[in-house]
């Protein structure tokens, strides 16, 4: 497998994720963008594992486990916010404003 294209692809995925986080207003989309970034990192781990041993692959499993837990908590929060304000638009949810 070619290392260069793999790393380039993961960088692209990560950048899309960052961009999405910064510009999207929908909480669920934002959440998906975070997943995108996590998986971009996973891809990097896998690509480099060929050269640096099995540790990278092991790390991927950790990330997936944490991402799953994070998804569960995050979706629960979004659900709760939606029930409360009937909206998942982040522009209108500004309860923490000083």
């Amino acid at each position: 497998m070619l290392l260069g294209p793999a790393l380039a692809f993961s960088a692209l995925l990560f950048s899309i994720g960052v961009l999405g986080v910064l510009i999207r207003r929908n909480a669920i989309v934002l959440f998906m963008c975070i997943e995108l970034m996590l998986n971009a990192v996973n891809l990097t781990f896998i690509a480099l594992a060929q050269y640096h041993g099995v540790g990278g692959q092991l790390m991927v499993f950790f990330v997936m486990a944490v991402a799953a837990a994070e998804a569960a908590v995050g979706l629960a929060i979004i659900l709760a916010v939606f029930r409360h304000t009937t909206s998942v638009d982040l522009k209108t949810n500004t309860l923490l404003q000083g």
Binding site: V18, V21, L22, I23, R25, L30, L90, K91, N93, T94, L95, L96, Q97, G98
Partner: protein
């Protein structure tokens, strides 16, 4: 039995133990009056015994050298190292005997006088504490140690003036004494600083040794030092311009007036000048100021005493006047005469105050019996008391003869020596002739007002009231016995320093030679001899006897009315009755502007404006503003948070990656 001077700490420790015991009783067992009556005077008698034994050993061994008893190092700071050490020498021993001796008698008197007071234990605790500090003052071997005593006696004076603090006037009098003394203490401290800066030592023995070597005689430095020291003395020893607290201090119990405000504490200034005599001898200008202020105070206070009706007020102004004589003496360079007058004055003035206390005691009892509310201290309400109080009368008569300066009573010799010295100094510095004249006039006035006091109190018809008269009685033995001892001392106290003219050998003069030797070398004084001496003595006797007779005649010439029916004062008498309005003048010139300044500027501008608005509210406003700026960052927009977060992460990334 030889008692080493090293044991002198016992003389301080005994009254201190008395203070602790009486203080504890005052807090937990105020009713235990018998215990207080035993402990209070016993510790003083013990201290007197210690001092007397040490004195006997010291005198027996013919020691002229001072002995320093170092207890511990008090302040070790760099080059400045102050030991808490006691100086036993011929001067301090004389003072110690007076303080503990007269103090013991007054403690005994207090047992009778204060017995029925609810604050009996508290009273004795304060009185014991006063003696502790007075002994520290006398024994201190350096200026700072003396200053402990100096401030301590001031504190006890304050506590005892305001002893009956339930009455606002008494509490105010205590405050006044405390505040006026602060002005004097300022001078004392400045003097200490300059002495330290120029001589590098605060120890009396070292000062006496270094001053002639390192300071120019008559120079600006030594003159400044002595003038500031004297400012301290004018506060503590009630001289112009700071004498105003002493007459008000009569608000305290009468034995307190006798002990603190007549016999001991107020003479601390005279003692300080005598202690640092070498400095004053080296500064003729300061000495002239000391003598001038003393002579002026002697005359000024004596005129006020002419027209006071409160028996204690007369004696208070008399004390101020007599302290003036002492300063006249030490300012003249006759240090021994000053100390001599200090000692004799302690005898006869303590006797006069305790006698007055005895009279007031009787008046109080009489008025208590009939629930009368007349002034028990107003001499216009007394009269004819010699019939009911023969002992008090006889003893006060002795004291009157002593203070007026009738030979052979104590005051004659000391006052005569003072005036003769001032006259002699006049040959060299003409101003002293004026001071001498002031002293002579004040002597005449002294005889006059004392005769008036005796006449109004003990002669004529009784004016207390028909019912009250029956209850007037002589004081109990516990009160008259100390009076008898003081009476004997007042009568024969002059023998202490009987001049050669009367066949004496000037004991005190020779005893104090080692103390004043250096000063006499710098500031020599040739006492008058032969014809001049006879003329001066003759004049003194004529003035004393004449003043007494005139005072009695003038007072008894017209019937005296009780205070309630007395006509208002007119003319110059009114000015004297109101004490030259000095209190009013001070109030208008100093107190009121100070209060106004404090109110308008210090309170409204500095405190409310600067500290409250600027400091307290200002810091709150600053915190609130900073907080407001912080809240602007909290937009509540998740996008903004994330952007900041990302920028932060990138920043850290670049910093770490270099």
């Amino acid at each position: 039995m030889y008692v080493s001077a090293n044991l002198i700490w016992l003389a301080v420790a005994l009254p201190l133990a008395g203070f602790l015991i009486n203080g504890a009783l005052a807090i937990w067992r105020p009713g235990a009056k018998t215990a207080v009556s035993v402990v209070g005077p016993a510790v003083l008698l013990g201290a007197f015994a210690v001092v007397a034994l040490i004195f006997r050993s010291y005198a027996g061994a013919r020691l002229g050298t001072p002995q320093v008893v170092t207890l511990w190092t008090w302040v070790p700071v760099g080059a400045l190292s102050i030991d808490l050490s006691l100086l036993v020498d011929r001067l301090s021993l004389v003072m110690l005997l007076v303080v503990t001796g007269v103090g013991s008698l007054i403690h005994l008197f207090s047992v009778g006088y204060m017995r029925s007071d609810p604050g009996y234990a508290r009273y004795f605790a304060y009185l014991n504490l006063f003696v502790v500090f007075m002994l520290v003052l006398v024994l201190g071997s350096s200026l700072p140690v003396l200053f402990i005593g100096w401030e301590g006696v001031g504190l006890c004076s304050y506590l005892l003036i305001g002893f009956w603090y339930g009455d606002k006037a008494n509490a105010d009098a205590g405050k006044k004494a405390f505040l006026v003394n602060r002005i004097g203490d300022f001078g004392f401290m400045i003097a200490m600083f300059i002495i330290w800066a120029t001589l590098g030592s605060l120890d009396f023995l070292e000062i006496a040794e270094l001053a002639p070597l390192q300071l120019a005689a008559g120079g600006a430095v030594v003159t400044t030092i002595t003038l500031f020291l004297f400012l301290g003395c004018t506060g503590k020893s009630a001289q112009i311009p700071l004498y105003i607290w002493l007459p008000d201090a009569m608000a305290g119990p009468t034995p307190v007036s006798a002990l603190i405000h007549a016999a001991t504490m107020v003479t601390a200034g005279v003692y300080l000048v005598a202690r640092t005599n070498i400095l004053f001898a080296m500064a003729p200008f300061s000495s002239t100021v000391v003598a001038g202020v003393g002579a002026l105070t002697a005359l000024f206070a004596a005129t006020i005493a002419l027209r006071q009706y409160d028996i204690k007020k007369v004696l208070a102004y008399s004390t101020v006047s007599q302290l003036g004589y002492m300063f006249l003496a030490v300012g003249t360079g006759a240090y021994v005469a000053g100390v001599f007058h200090l000692v004799t004055h302690a005898f006869f003035k303590a006797l006069l105050f305790l006698g007055a206390g005895s009279v007031i005691h009787a008046m109080h009892h009489a008025q208590h019996a009939t629930h009368s509310h007349e002034d028990a201290q107003d001499m216009r309400n007394m009269g004819g008391l010699r019939r009911v109080m023969p002992w008090t009368f006889a003893l006060m008569a002795i004291a009157t003869l002593a203070i007026a300066g009738v030979p052979p009573f104590a005051g004659f010799f000391s006052k005569d020596e003072t005036l003769a010295a001032a006259f002699a100094r006049g040959a060299e510095i003409p101003a002293f002739r004026v001071f001498w004249l002031f002293g002579v006039i004040a002597a005449a006035l002294t005889a006059f007002y004392m005769a008036r006091l005796m006449a109004m109190t003990f002669f004529g018809d009784n004016r207390t009231g028909p019912e009250e008269q029956k209850h007037l009685h002589e004081a109990p033995v516990i009160m008259t016995a100390p009076l008898v001892v003081l009476g004997i001392l007042s009568a024969v106290g002059g023998m202490l320093n009987l001049p050669a003219l009367f066949g004496g050998d000037a004991k005190l003069e020779h005893w104090l030679d080692p103390i004043t030797e250096g000063a006499h070398h710098v500031f020599p004084l040739e006492m008058p001899h032969g014809q001049t001496e006879f003329i001066l003595i003759g004049l003194a006797i004529v003035i004393a006897v004449g003043g007494l007779i005139l005072g009695y005649r003038v007072t008894m010439a017209r019937p005296i009315l009780p205070a309630r029916q007395a006509a208002p004062e007119v003319g110059f008498w009114k000015v004297l009755y109101h004490k030259y309005y000095v209190d009013e003048i001070y109030a208008a010139l100093i107190v009121r502007p100070l209060v106004l300044f404090s109110d308008r500027v210090l309170w409204k501008d500095v405190d409310q404006g600067l500290i409250d608005r600027g400091g307290v509210e200002g810091s709150a406003r600053l915190a609130r503003t900073l907080g407001w700026i912080g809240t602007r960052l909290q937009t509540g927009q998740v996008g903004v948070y994330l952007t900041v977060f990302l920028v932060g992460v990138l920043g850290i990334f670049f910093v770490v990656m270099g």
